[in-house]
Amino acid sequence: MAKKRIITTTINGREEQFLCEPRQTLLEVLRDQLDLTGTKEGCANGNCGACTVLLDGRAVDSCLVLAVECEGAQLDTIEGVASSEGLDVIQQAFLEQAALQCGVCTPGFIMSAKALLAENPDATEEEIRFYLAGNLCRCTGYDKIIRAVQQAATDRQATAPAT
C-alpha cells in the first residue's frame, strides 16, 4: 500500500494536519477523517457540485482533488461560512427565498455563490446561472436559488461588509 502522507492545510482559517493515502480525495478526507460532513458527495465525478469547496479562494469539486494535493492550501468549506455572530448573508437569503428542500446541494451552491459574489458582486441573472452551472439541484428547479443569490448580492451591497 502507498505510504501515507501528513498534509498541512488551513481549513476555515485554522491550521489542520491530517494523515492520508494518496488515493483519498479531498472530499473523502473532509467527510471521513475530519468530520466536516457539510460538504456532500453527489456524483463522485465532478458533475453535480455538491462537493464544492473553495481551494485557495477558488470553487473546486473536492471529489476531483486528491487530499495530498492540498499541502499548504487554504480551504473554505460550508462549516466556515456562518460566523459566531450568525448566518452569512448568502445563507440568510437562501432561507428567506426557500432556496432549498432536501438541502443536499445547498452547501455546494453556497460555496459557489460565495465565490461568485466575491468575484462579481453585480452579477446579472445570466451570469449567476452560468456561474452556477456546475451545481445541480433535483428538488427546487433552480429558480429560488437564483433569486436567493440575487438577494444576497443586493443585501451585501446594502450593508457594510463584515470582513
Binding site: 494518496p22 488515493r23 473546486v60
Partner: protein, 293 residues
Amino acid sequence: MRDFEYDAPATLAEAVAVFQEHNGRARPLAGGTDLIDHVRTGRLEPDVIVDVKQIPELNVLECSSDGLRLGAAVPCYKIYEHEQIQASYSAIADSCHIIGGIQIQNRATVGGNVCNASPAADASPSLIALEATCVIAGPQGTRELPVEEFFSGPGRNVLQPGELLVELKLPAPSQQSGSHYRRFIPRNEMDIAVVGVGAAVTLDEAGQLFERARVGLGAVAPTPLLVEEVDGLLQGQPVNEESIERAASAARSLAKPIDDMRGTVEFRKHVAGVLTRRVLWEAVARARGDSAR
C-alpha cells in the same frame, strides 16, 4: 479507489525520469478532472500518479510578439482571465470558459484536455484553428508537432512511454485576425460537445477579403480534425455568405460522425455545417473589431 503512489517532481528532468522508470504505469496529474475520474472508474490503472503542477516549464503563460506559450499545467481560469489571450486568441478563451463548469475550469488544463484526447474536447478545435504546436519532452529529448497530429484515436494520443506534453506554442496573430469557438450541446452548459467548431481568420486591411482561414472540428470524427480545404477555399475570396457556405460545405463533407445518444450522423453533419458558418462569421466580426468582445 485503486491504490497508487504519488510523486510531485520539481523539475522536468525528474518527471521524465519517473515516467521512463515506470514505463507506462505512471500518469501525469495536472487538474485531475479527467484523470481522477478515470482512475475511480477503472478506465486507467496507474501505479504512480505524478503531479506535474510544480514543474516551471509546464506553468509558462507568456503572450508576446513572438506568440503565445501555454504551459500544459496552466488551468483554464488563468487562460480565460488573461486579457491578451481574450483579445488575440479568443477562441481559446471561449473554449476554456466552456469546459465543464466553474469548478472544473478552476482546475482543468488545456494540456490535460488535449492529452485526454476526447474527440469532443473543447480546447482542440480552437488550438487547431490557431495553429498550435505541441512541445513534448521525453527521454530522447524534446520534439514538436502540430496539435492536429497529436491525436491518434478516441482517447488516444501519440505520446510514447516516458513522454510528457510540456506546452502548446501558438504563433503571433496577424493584424485583422479573429477567432472563435462554439459547440452544439442539448443544454446550456456542462454537456459534452455534439459538434464543436473552432475558426481563425485573417482579413485584408479593408476587412473585405479573406487572407487566411483555419477551421478545426470536434466531436464529428475519431479525433479532432483540421478542415484543410478551408484555407484554399477562402484565400483571396470576399467575405460573404457564398464563400463562407463553401467552407461550411467542406466541414460537412469532412465530418465523419457516429450515431450515438447525443446525435445521429445526419444531425451532426448538418450542425457541423451550420456551426462552421456561424463561427466563421463571428471570427470575421472579431477580426474587424465589430464584435462585443
